[in-house]
Amino acid sequence: MELAFLIEKVAVVVILFVLTLTIAAYSTLAERKVAAFLQDRVGPDRAGPFGVFQPLADGGKMFFKEETTPNGANKWLFIAGPSLALLTSFLGSAVIPWGQPINFFGRIVPLQVTDINVGILYIFGVVSLGVYGIMIGGWASNNKYSLMGAVRGASQNISYEIAMGLSIIALLLVTNSLSFKVIAEQQHGINWNFWYQPLGFLIFLVCAFAETNRVPFDLPECETELIGGYNTEYSGFKMGAYMFAEYINMFVSSAVMATLYFGGYNYPGMDFVNQHLGTTWGPLVGVAVLLGKILAFIFFFMWVRWTVPRFRYDQLMNLGWKILIPLAIANIVITACVITFFDKF
C-alpha cells in the first residue's frame, strides 16, 4: 500500500468524520429551530447570532454535567450501550460515494472511503447492529422503563428491517448492482431511481423513520409512556452519545436515501458544469448537491416530527407487518414483471 493512497484515504475519512459530527451537532440546533418555526416561534437565538453557537453551548453543558450510574446497573454494559450506538451510527457513512472522483493537484481521488461490492448489504448490517446500542443500554440501566424501551426498539427495528430489505430488492432489480458507486453512476443527470421506484422509495422512507427511531415511530423513547425510554437513566455525556447517535443515524439514512433514490451527487446539467469547471471544481459542485439533498431530507425528518403524532404500538406493528411487507412484496413482483416484459420485447 503506497503512502499517498494511505494519506488520501485518511484525509477522506477525517473530512467525513468532521463533516458528520458538524452536521449532527447542527442538526440539534436545526431541530429546535424547525420546531420553533413550525410553531410560530423563533427558537434558540441567544448564543451568537441566530443561536449559531448553541450546539457548542449544549456540548459544553453535556461534557460538564454530572454523570450518574444507577444502583444495580451493569457498569460495563451501561457504558457499552451508548458507545455502541455511536459507533454503529458512524460506520454507515463509509460506503456512501460523496462525489465523482476529484482531480486534486493531478491526483484522481475517489470521494468514497471504500467501495465494497456489497455496499447495500453492508448498510443493512450496520443498521441492524444499531439496535444493540439501544438494547444493551436499556437492559443495563436496571430500570423497567428502560427495558421496555429497549424491547420496543428491538422489535421495531427487526420488523421494519424486513420491509426495508424487500423494498431494496426491487431497487436492486432495477440497478443490477449492490455497489453504491455503480448505483450512483447509473443515475447520471436526472435519471434517478426515484422515477422507477416511487413505491419502493415510500416504503424505504417509512422504514428509515422507524429504523432511526424518529417521530412518528419514536416508541422506544416515548416520553408519555416510558419517561425517556431506553435512555431514562442516562445523563451527561452518555446521554449526549445517544442523542448524537440518533442525529448521525438521521444523517446517514438521509445520505443513503439520497444516493439510492435521488441520484446522489448527480443533478441535471452536470455534464455542462463539469466541462466548464474542470475536474477539480466540477465534482465539488456534485458534493454540494448531494449535501443539499441530504439537508433537505434532514429537514423532512424534522418537518414530519413536528407534524405527525406518535403511533400506538399495535398500529406500528400492523403498519410494518400487514401493510408495508405485502406492499414491498407486491412492488418486487410488479418490478420483476415489468423488467422481464421490457427485456423480452
Binding site: 465494497i116 456489497v118 453492508y122 443493512f124 448490517g125 438494547m135 437492559w139 427495558l147 424491547v151 427495528n157
Partner: protein
C-alpha cells in the same frame, strides 16, 4: 496469516466465554462477538457475500431475538433453574458424541487431502448468484420451500385458536 491466527484465537476465546459465563446475557453478547469474528474470517476468505449475510442474519437479527427473549425473561443467578445430574450426564454424552463426529470427519478430510479452490472471486455476489440459480437450482428451491413451510408453521402456532375464546 498472523491476522488469521489472531482472529482464530479471538473466536476460540469468545466461544469459550459463551460457555463459561454465568449470566446468560453475557453469553449472548459473547456469542455476538464470536459471530463477528466469523464475519472477519469470511472476509479473509474473500467470501464477501457470506460475510455480510452472516453479519445481517446472525448478528443483526437472530442474536437480537435471543437477547430480546433473554431480557424479557430476566434470568438472574437467583432465578436460574436447578440442573439435575441427569441433565448434566445427558449433556456430556451429547457433547461427547458431537466431538467424536467432528474428529471422525476431520480424519476423512485428511484422507481426501485438502482441496483448494483456485478461483478467488468465487465468493462474490455475482458468481454466487449464478452458481445458485444454475448448478444448484434444485437444492436452492427445496431449501426455500423448507423455509416457507417453517414460516407457515410458525404463523399457525402463533395464531389464536378461534374456537378457544369463542
Amino acid at each position: 496469516m498472523i491476522l488469521f491466527y489472531l482472529v482464530s484465537l479471538l473466536t476460540i476465546t469468545f466461544s469459550l466465554l459463551v460457555i463459561f459465563t454465568k449470566n446468560p446475557i453475557y453469553s449472548v453478547l459473547y456469542l455476538i462477538a464470536t459471530f463477528f469474528t466469523f464475519t472477519i474470517h469470511y472476509v479473509l476468505l474473500n467470501a464477501q457475500f457470506l460475510a455480510v449475510v452472516n453479519f445481517i442474519v446472525y448478528m443483526g437479527a437472530i442474536m437480537v431475538l435471543f437477547l430480546f427473549v433473554l431480557m424479557l425473561m430476566n434470568l438472574n443467578k437467583e432465578t436460574e433453574p436447578m440442573k439435575s445430574t441427569l441433565i448434566k450426564i445427558i449433556a456430556v454424552i451429547a457433547g461427547g458424541s458431537l466431538l467424536v463426529t467432528l474428529i471422525g470427519s476431520f480424519k476423512q478430510l485428511d484422507a481426501l487431502g485438502i482441496s483448494t479452490i483456485n478461483k478467488p472471486e468465487i465468493g462474490l455476489v455475482e458468481n454466487l448468484g449464478k452458481v445458485l440459480f444454475s448448478d444448484f437450482l434444485l437444492p436452492f428451491e427445496v431449501s426455500s420451500i423448507l423455509l416457507l413451510s417453517a414460516m407457515v408453521g410458525a404463523v399457525l402456532l402463533a395464531k389464536k385458536d378461534k374456537t378457544d375464546n369463542g
